[in-house]
Amino acid sequence: MLMYIFRRLTSALPTLFVVVTLSFFLIRLAPGGPFDLEQPLEAKVMENLNRIYKLDRPLIEQYWLYLSHLATGDFGPSFYARDFTVAELLARGLPVSITIGGLALLLALAIGIVLGTIAAFRQNQPADYSVMVFATFGITIPTFVVAPVLQIVFGLMLAWLPVGGWNNGHIRNLILPVIALALPQVAVVARMIRASMIEALRSNHIRTLRSQGLPRSTIAIHALRGAMLPVVSYMGPAAAALLTGSVVIETIFGLPGVGRYFVEGALNRDYTLVMGTVVMVAVFVLVFNLIVDILYALLDPRVRYDT
């Protein structure tokens, strides 16, 4: 198993390298530069800025410089937020995004699994239909509709919770963004669990348990082990996306996470910030894909990674 993890980690490095290379040249191909303002800077000023940030060197040399800095963990300075390095920006934003995304992830798994299991046990009964209608709503209503509605209802009309802000991660500030972020995921998980659970309940080993008259909760736990597989493989990329921040949620609730950096970085041609976020997301995706494969082996005894 350890060998397998080690091998996977080393094979992830080339992927990361390709991702970095692709995005480095893609963002450079985009028209415009980081110092383009509404009123153009004087040519001399522009020249100096480009020299300080080494943007006047040939592209290949810049690429090499970036790679060698990246290898030592240096993401470089941000062009747009002038006083900060990209590493500082990410270090400040990531805890916020991970808190919100992690809680949403746990909430989505907990509620989604419960709802999906209930629906599967009561297939084609009212409980099943209401779960499915709820799930379809969850998938179809965009987050940027749900979030303002939550703000209006719970923040302004009922005045139970703050409308937005981070407030050092106070629990009251977390509730609304976490719910808004988790809702579509709850829906997806519930649908997947329902589908795979119905299949699992028809399998021989579960039929045996049923014939022995075991309580439903015990049957559910046994069936879940197999039924979790599709959810686990879906949750890999989804978890990476949740933990690296949602630009919609962060914008609507005014949270200082990393989700916005992407959009801001790309639109302002903040090359280093964009590259930093790309690397961050790619690392999350690769790590979570690895976790998924390990979980697969734990859940499904037919899958083995001995070699």
Binding site: T15, L29, F137, F262
Partner: protein, 372 residues
């Protein structure tokens, strides 16, 4: 030999005929299908029959609520007449609504310039003004201004444009974007996946490795780069979005192909010397279409949501053109004082996505060979 040929050929039901029958038995799926057709028809044809143009601005009807009865409301008429009277430089002595028009008596210390009565015609509320009676050498006019009735079924937006027409126009854009991007994803994904799966071996490994790398690239990054490159040309952009969304499609098709290529009929075709290209087109691709069709009905809502996400970021379709995403993000900003701006476009979007989802589920059940 002739005996065998003389026997009646048993009429088999093809996979598709079978699936169609099963689909039409599913009430939710059929209802969804008809709903989607209805949505498509009203989005395409509706704006031609609407009395309003989607970009027409009614300055006197900014953000009026949705209403089944026609505007102007009785309480709007008096202030409008007062505004016009001020521009005509006259005082109102009396005014009353008789039937479909307003009878106003205007007085002024000086003779009233009747050319200024054109202000009535320019207003959104009246069709014009006719002088019924002149008195005091033109210092007192009795005029009759027929009211111009307009219906704003869904109300108007912050610029005074009819939301009903805009929602229909937006439906055209959103549905077109959804179908366009899905079509592109379908073409690339099916061709790529089938090729990788059929050729197998090292080519397959390399091709799927490329897919893995593209997966690791953050999707939003790609989309924003596309916006940066193509500007706001949304047709080009959604061709490009389709060119990204093919990854899942390629994986599904490859998986299908791997199992199909071991079937006897494929081996038979190979034995007969059919080219790889021919086998792919004649045998492999038609047989992978079941899951592909299901995935397609789920990809269309995904792309429509993606478009609305871009609109939320302000990177979507540009004014005065609009899409459901643009309308919804505009509505979300005005949710406190003009909830209909969010309600109607969201209703259209959500019901459409709902129907697409139910249709997708129905198709999956209809095409699933396990349930047969």
């Amino acid at each position: 030999m002739s005996d065998v040929l003389a026997q009646p050929v048993p009429v088999g039901r093809s996979l598709w005929a079978d699936a169609r029958i099963r689909l039409f038995r599913n009430k939710a799926a059929v209802t969804s299908l008809f709903f989607l057709i209805f949505m498509g028809v009203i989005s395409i044809a509706g704006p031609w029959f609407s009395p309003h143009q989607y970009e027409r601005v009614y300055t006197e009807y900014v953000r009026v609520p949705a209403s089944l009865t026609a505007y102007p409301k009785p309480e709007q008429i008096a202030p409008a007449v007062e505004r016009i009277a001020a521009r005509v430089r006259a005082q109102i002595e009396t005014q009353q609504v008789i039937g479909g028009s307003v009878r106003v008596t205007l007085v002024s210390p000086r003779a009233i310039d009747e050319r200024n009565l054109a202000f009535f015609g320019r207003s959104d509320l009246f069709q014009g003004a006719n002088v019924v009676e002149r008195a005091d050498e033109g210092r007192k006019l009795v005029i009759d201004a027929p009211i111009r009735w307009r219906t704003f079924l869904f109300g108007t937006d912050g610029n005074g444009r009819d939301l009903f027409t805009r929602t229909l126009i937006a439906g055209r854009v959103s549905l077109a974007i959804g179908l366009l991007a899905t079509g592109v994803a379908l073409l690339i994904g099916v061709a790529y996946g089938a090729t990788a799966g059929y050729l197998g071996g090292r080519i397959d490994t390399v091709m799927m490795r490329i897919v893995d790398i593209l997966y690791a690239l953050p999707f939003i990054f790609f989309v924003i780069m596309l916006v940066v490159f193509f500007g706001r040309n949304f047709i080009l952009m959604f061709l490009a979005v389709g060119a990204i969304e093919w990854l899942d499609m390629a994986r599904i098709v490859r998986g299908q192909t791997l199992s199909i290529k071991r079937q006897e009929y494929v081996q038979a075709a190979e034995a007969l010397g059919v080219t790889s290209n021919g086998i792919l087109r004649r045998h492999i691709i038609p047989n992978t279409l079941g899951p592909v069709v299901v995935y397609m009905t789920l990809l269309v809502p995904k792309v429509i949501l993606l478009e609305s996400f871009l609109s939320f970021l302000g990177l979507g379709v540009q004014e005065p053109m609009t899409s459901w995403g643009v309308l919804i993000s505009d509505g979300a900003r005005n949710i406190q004082n003009a909830e209909w701006l969010l309600f109607f476009p969201a209703l259209f979007l959500v019901t459409t996505l709902f129907a697409l989802n139910f249709l997708g589920d129905g198709l999956r059940d209809a095409l699933d060979p396990k349930d047969r």
